[in-house]
């Protein structure tokens, strides 16, 4: 076996290839077995059944007894699930294989490779003599397509989508109409007009699956991506209407004006109806998620099921299922994400990505197999003319529409942009499936052949060349967004500013209506759909919380992986905090949940490498030991302090230097404590009113500063009459148990300057 002789260095990919080939053969045999094996299956099946019947006869028959079958072969029973699993496994192994072999995947996009694999499998099956399974339209539309669309819709970037909605709609609706009529009209002569128009309507739509597959790998800028992708999603309504319209009339033979008018009405019904169905299911899903606090495990299922129901419900009425699915995802998302747990969110994300990935792979493989399998009617002229016409109509359509659109756009589309939009108009499996659903057999084969050729052309030629072209034309790539809080603040700020300016101008523009929608959303909708207090949380705060979580997690992960974070900056809070008057409370007040998070994270991280904590502390907001500390520790330490005080101070005298005060009713005593661990200062002026005198504040980072333990004035009954002085108060924190044990820091001890409780400046204080 060649496997055994492989060298170790190349054994990885070679082994994978071998397994792939093995699986290819296996799958082909499994599929082919449908025709080849049924005969033998029956003979196999029968003995099994016969042996089962036998016991009945056994008691009657005199001596003939078959041996109990220890091991038998029941292929028929598991055939269906086994085949499905084998196909999926094949698809995934192919995907895996492509990424292990790096050279190929850089040049050829994955979709091409997958179609190629499909061709291979189809070829093998045919060679064995079996019947290759075609891309069953029902399988495609009900099982393979929805996950991809849901993934796209749920994670659709809303801001760029709504900003460019006008452009996208014009391309989707007008562009597709133009394509359909141009191609159909030009083909007139081959077959009758209506069939041509039907063909035109099938072939004209840009396919979201193909676009996603190709564009995902080239990382172009957001605007172009959303334009082409949005177009591919929204043209579904047009396609559905045109397809059904021409299919009906292809039988009738003639079209009247009334029919055309009905077609237009139908378009609006289909698209708006689809969106409405999706929105209803979206709201239902959001509402349901409000109550899932106690059953977190099934939360993701609600999202998936409601979306799938939206799709199916729309399909029932021949409304646009894709638009319904998109609408459902878009409507549901902001509310669901506010309600579900973080783990559910991760689950949803990964399941969607997983399903859509598998679907996409399967679709392309099946495309390849169907090409080998299907009956073909090759007509050179028809096919070539179709391909050329598709290209020409796309280019003309884009140029013409952009000319009109640019008059209304602020950010105009340049020639480069137009080229990418035109070149990115790929056709894919939807066109193929629609063609497959045609019933007229002689036209069907002709059309199918042409459709497959166009698909191959767009996916192979355009898919492969778009990446070098993007490089050549120096098209702007996607910028790496780091989720900057400053950008978020200013985006919100700009929104309000522009709304305000519009109001001053008296101009009810985009910002005005967007603002109105947001306020409506906040006042009414959120209260119903989001549970608890999060319904009133403004967007900036949720963004900030998300970022904190992300940073904290990054810190934990990088701490354990022994990697330094990418931005190593020595700036910390003390660099930007002004050393103002003592009045100011320097502990930022934090909410309970943030406390919890910080505590959890600190606990987790402190258990690992402690040294690294130090080097991170300089730049990370969360655990800067010199400034920000959780209030929990503060309280804990206060409790400790009180405990210590409540002990007879004699017991702990060694740690304290009690400076005797001059006689007074309530002599102020200052206790000085040798802090053995590193200190964290917080400035807290909340306790007693201050006079105007301000002592100079201690510099927070100097480790030699004395730490004063000032007991709170609310406990005068404690031994030694502890009353704070009126001057600047510093509460040094006794460290947490888990903190590192530093060297004993010698602290300077101070004398109590004097009994008078006036506002005398004390120079001999803390430095």
């Amino acid at each position: 076996m060649a496997v055994l002789r492989l060298t170790r260095s190349s054994s990885g990919p070679r082994l994978t290839e071998f397994i792939c080939v093995l699986l290819l053969v296996l799958v082909s045999v499994a599929s082919a077995s449908r025709d080849v094996v049924p005969g033998s299956n029956e003979t196999w099946g029968n003995p099994a059944r016969a042996t089962q019947d036998d016991p009945h006869h056994q008691t009657n028959s005199t001596g003939h007894k078959k041996a109990f079958p220890v091991l038998s072969f029941h292929y028929e029973e598991v055939k269906k699930p086994l085949e499905i699993s084998l196909w999926i496994l094949l698809a995934l192994l192919m995907k895996l294989g492509f990424h292990i072999i790096p050279r190929v995947s850089n040049v050829v996009p994955e979709s091409c490779l997958l179609i190629f694999v499909g061709l291979l499998v189809g070829g093998i099956i045919k060679a064995i003599g079996g019947e290759a399974p075609g891309l069953d339209a029902k399988l495609f539309f009900y099982y393979l397509l929805p996950p991809i669309i849901l993934d796209a819709g749920y994670f659709l970037p809303i801001r760029p989508f709504t900003e460019n909605l006008g452009t996208i709609l014009v391309f989707a609706v007008v562009g597709t109409l133009w394509n359909a009529f141009f191609i159909g009209g030009m083909m007139y002569g081959v077959v009758d007009l209506l069939s041509c128009l039907l063909f035109g309507s099938i072939i004209s739509a840009v396919d979201p699956v193909a676009v996603l597959a190709v564009f995902e790998e080239i990382h172009i800028n957001e605007l172009l991506h959303i334009l082409v992708f949005g177009e591919s999603l929204l043209n579904d309504a047009v396609t559905v209407v045109l397809y059904h319209l021409f299919k009906e009339f292809a039988h009738a033979g003639t079209v009247t004006v009334a029919d055309a008018f009905l077609g237009v009405v139908c378009f609006f019904v289909v698209s708006l109806g689809g969106i409405m169905v999706g929105a209803i299911y979206g709201i239902l899903g959001a509402f349901t998620s409000r109550f899932t606090a106690h059953t977190r495990v099934i939360e993701p299922l609600f999202v998936f099921l409601y979306s799938y129901m939206a799709y199916l419900s729309a399909e029932v009425f021949h409304l646009s299922g894709i638009m319904s699915l998109i609408a459902c995802g878009v409507v549901m998302r902001p509310y669901v994400e506010a309600n579900i747990s973080h783990k559910s969110y991760t689950t949803i994300k990964y399941f969607l990505k997983m399903w859509s990935s598998v679907s996409e792979t399967l679709i392309f493989i099946f495309l390849g197999v169907s090409t080998v399998a299907g009956p073909h009617a090759w007509n050179w002229t028809f096919v070539i003319v179709t391909v050329i016409l598709c290209l020409v109509s796309r280019v003309l359509g884009v140029i013409g529409l952009t000319y009109i659109i640019n008059k209304f756009r602020i950010v105009k589309l340049t020639k480069k942009d137009q080229f990418i939009v035109a070149y990115g108009g790929l056709r894919g499996a939807i066109a193929f499936s629609l063609g497959f659903l045609l019933t007229d057999s002689d036209m069907k084969n002709l059309f199918l052949t042409a459709i497959i050729t166009v698909i191959f052309f767009t996916v192979f030629v355009q898919g492969m060349t778009i990446r070098p072209l993007v490089e050549l034309l120096a098209v702007k790539k996607k910028k790496e967004s780091k989720g900057s809080i400053n950008e978020e603040i200013h985006t919100q700020f700009l929104d309000h500013l522009l709304t305000g300016i519009e109001d001053i101008c008296g101009h009810y523009g985009h910002h005005h209506w967007k603002d109105k929608l947001n306020r409506f959303n906040k006042a009414y909708v959120k209260r119903w759909l989001i549970r608890g207090e999060r319904s009133t949380e403004p967007q900036l705060i949720s963004f900030y919380n998300k970022m904190e979580m992300k940073q904290a997690m990054m810190l934990v992960e990088s701490g354990s992986a022994a990697k330094l974070p990418t931005i190593v900056s020595s700036v910390s809070m003390q660099n930007i905090q002004t050393k103002g008057p003592a009045r100011r409370r320097a502990i930022p007040s934090i909410s309970k949940s943030r406390e919890e998070e910080i505590r959890k994270i600190l606990r987790a991280n402190l258990q690992k490498t402690r040294q690294r904590l130090r080097s991170y502390s300089r730049h990370d907001l969360l655990i800067d030991p010199f400034e920000d500390v959780s209030e929990v520790r503060f309280r804990k330490q206060r409790v400790e302090m009180e405990r210590r005080v409540s002990f007879n101070s004699d017991c702990d005298m060694s740690h304290y230097l009690t400076v005797p005060a001059k006689s007074q009713e309530t002599p102020p005593v200052r206790k000085v404590c040798f802090e053995s661990e590193h200190q964290i200062y917080t400035y807290d002026d909340s306790e007693s009113p201050r006079g105007s005198a301000q002592a100079s504040r201690p510099h927070p980072s100097s480790p030699d500063a004395v730490s004063l333990l000032d007991e709170s004035p609310q406990r005068p009954s404690q031994r030694g009459a502890l009353r704070t002085r009126g001057d600047a108060e510093v509460r040094a924190k006794a460290p947490d148990d888990k903190e590192e044990q530093d060297q004993l820091k010698l602290s300077r001890c101070l004398s109590d300057p004097g009994p008078k409780k006036d506002e005398e400046e004390d120079g001999s204080f803390l430095s």
Binding site: S484, Q492, H507, E537, S572, S589
Partner: protein
């Protein structure tokens, strides 16, 4: 300012007269009385920007009590969008101008930097319509934002260094990704104030 079309200037003049009650100048009260502005969290700062002398580009500081149509138009000119014919250079100038406008809105004491206090104030105002949750978190958010600015622009500071405030250069740097010249604009195309009372504008 000369980039406005005659049509747009006419429309804005109509609006100006409406706001001022057919007077020559408008005061702060005139702007504060606009009902739609009542819901805007940063209302005060927007109105303040109109009366800010720095936005008139004549190297003066301070603020006006009342402004005339010319000054009104000058402030509005900050919100023009770029056209297809705008060159790269002009875009740069435009971007700087708009960023300067934003900077002036934050830098209330006009010392050339946005200090931590000023930034905190700005974030507080932004969250002012969000009640108590807003106020608590505003501080933390402003602090984090300031820290981010400092870390990106001056990555290596010794513990004793003090970051005075966000200078205009740093401000430009952190907002560089937002492409201000395309974002900060309103559509002046069909500003027709007479349709305001009927509801939707014609654009």
């Amino acid at each position: 300012m000369s980039d406005f079309s005659v049509e747009q200037i006419k429309n804005l003049h109509k609006r100006f007269e409406q706001l001022s009650g057919n007077e020559e100048t408008i005061s702060r009260e005139n702007l504060e009385n606009i009902p739609a502005l009542a819901n805007n969290p940063i209302r005060r700062q927007i109105i303040g920007a109109f009366f800010d002398k720095r936005n008139q580009h004549q190297n003066e500081v301070g603020s006006f009590e009342e402004i005339g149509f010319e000054q009104f138009l000058m402030v509005m000119s900050h919100f023009r969008p770029p056209t297809l014919k705008t060159t790269e250079e002009e875009r740069e100038t435009m971007r700087k101008e708009k960023l300067r406008f934003l900077f002036n809105m934050h830098d209330t004491d006009n010392d050339g930097t946005i200090t931590l206090e000023e930034y905190r104030k700005a974030v507080e105002e932004l969250l002012s319509k969000s009640g108590a949750i807003g106020q608590e978190a505003a501080k933390a958010i402003a602090d984090a934002a300031m820290l981010e600015v400092a870390s990106t622009n001056v990555p290596h500071m010794a513990p004793d260094d003090f970051y005075e405030g966000i200078t205009f250069e740093h401000f430009e740097q952190i907002l560089k990704g937002l492409e201000m010249e395309s974002r900060m604009h309103i559509r002046f195309l069909d500003v027709d104030t007479t349709t305001m009372h009927c509801g939707r504008s014609t654009s």
